[in-house]
Symmetry: C2
Subunit: 343 residues, 2 copies
Amino acid sequence: MEDNKRRKVTIKDIAKEVGISPTAVSLILNNKPCRIAQEKKSLVREVAKQRNYIVNQAAKSLATKKSYMLALILPDIENTFFSSLAKQIENRCRREGYSLIIASSDEQESNDRQLLRVLESRGVDGIFLIMSSESFENSKMLMKELDLLTMPYVMVDRTFPDFDCSRVRFDHEQGGYLATKYLLEQGHTKIGCVFKEIGSGRSRLDGYLRALKEFHIPVKKEYLQAGDYRMESGYRAAGYLLLTDVTAIFLCNDMMTLGFLKKLYEEKLQVPKDYSIVSYDDSLQNYLLEIELTTVVQDITMIAEQACQMMFQKFTKEEIEKKEIILMPKLQVRTSVKNIIKK
Amino acid sequence: MEDNKRRKVTIKDIAKEVGISPTAVSLILNNKPCRIAQEKKSLVREVAKQRNYIVNQAAKSLATKKSYMLALILPDIENTFFSSLAKQIENRCRREGYSLIIASSDEQESNDRQLLRVLESRGVDGIFLIMSSESFENSKMLMKELDLLTMPYVMVDRTFPDFDCSRVRFDHEQGGYLATKYLLEQGHTKIGCVFKEIGSGRSRLDGYLRALKEFHIPVKKEYLQAGDYRMESGYRAAGYLLLTDVTAIFLCNDMMTLGFLKKLYEEKLQVPKDYSIVSYDDSLQNYLLEIELTTVVQDITMIAEQACQMMFQKFTKEEIEKKEIILMPKLQVRTSVKNIIKK
């Protein structure tokens, strides 16, 4: 059977078959009160079922203003951090009786705004937004669009510091601090940092700087290498840092760490024998056969849970309990850091 | 500003402001012919823009029957093969002026059916379906649901052999054949196979069997290990195969290969020195520092392109050119296979 030739069964068809008005059929199928005999009601439901009548949600949502569908806009579906987060949010929504649809902005600010519009116009009940890095850098346009939204939304993972909306994120500065403090405690003082100049990467660098300050270690400019969270930039950063006298490196995400490790492998250098490494994300544990990475871990299940709770509160309560939730990352210690304290 | 307190501007609001009927406003904003002076029309559009009027797509789609939104149902958003495929389909749709929304079945047959219903009722223009493995095993229910769909759909990657619908997939039997033939050509005759008992994994095993037959090598039952495409099953399979005299192994997906390699690493065995390996998917190239995997490659961009072309043909033509497209995988030769032909 050709899939696009079939015609939908309508309320009119059912009305004709049962011999009552389309309005009455509509009332019955939407469980609205109406003066129709119980047998007729049962018959209408039976016919609707037999003929595979599909409630037109588009029409129904116009009336009920509820679609039981939520949307998630994310920056890049191929990025494992976001795809894991999407899966957790989806699981949570499904348990609550909501379908989740996902759309990707491809890290473009214009797509964030266009998708907000499209999803609002499709009548989803609420939107989870992990904005693109372009929006992060260029906040005004998106803020304006968000102010005009007529439905509940929650900003997740990437948030504007001063923008008043429901939001949940991790404390990236604290993550950078934990990573660097651990390296300092193991005796390292010559610590490189591969970071990103904006957003979470910048905050992680701030944490690195705070830890150095706390340990009275001066910052050396040649130890700092900016990257873009992609593997190639980690590989390039290694090219520079291997020319310095660093003994340890804190890398602000796993993809850059992967690039860094590739360079080390090419140069026949080992972790932690030649260099100690702390990474961020804990997404590589399954892939690296030879290295057990010490890493900052963000609890994806927890951020998904908090984001969903915020959303569901918006449906049931007048005022939500908290507008901003900040989650603390943790350090997962494994064997990629050598203790170099002389005994 | 609280995000869920704001009220949508309606057609009625605009009608009141401009001083014409709501029906007239609706006709103007939907570019339908109506007897209203050109200045009034311009004024309506101006007011709509200023007041940030959003076309109610739910209502509009009831009339125009077109949403410019397509949906993709996939089995698992965390699986990198599917997330890459989703990204390629999305890119292609965006270029064509369509938004893509993605929903995951979490490999559950009941979710496949529920999502088809929900997405149809939300008025998407068409659906790309990569069915769950449960539906694959248990085809009747899904087939019935698909027969009842009133909109165009294309089955992607996982298809039923005898079910008449638009579909595009890879030739998995050919992939298994290419992998095994290559190992045979390099002199291996004791070749293990780690497969999956249903779907693509079963077809890949069939290709392995065809290659052995062609080279007149009898099948040894202890060389065959069933897995479930997950890492743990590859690790377990290694436990068995290392007890046999195999010199080479063909693994039917990358995750099982990763598990297999973990076991080899624990046993201090090397690729290709101790064992030759051919894998499937080519998703590990960025992650493995020490091994360059010879692997069967499926061109994700090409399957996305073909699926989208099929969909767009359904919108523009009465008859689509082909109902089934089968794409050939390729073998990417790297260094994980040792040539053991005595010279």
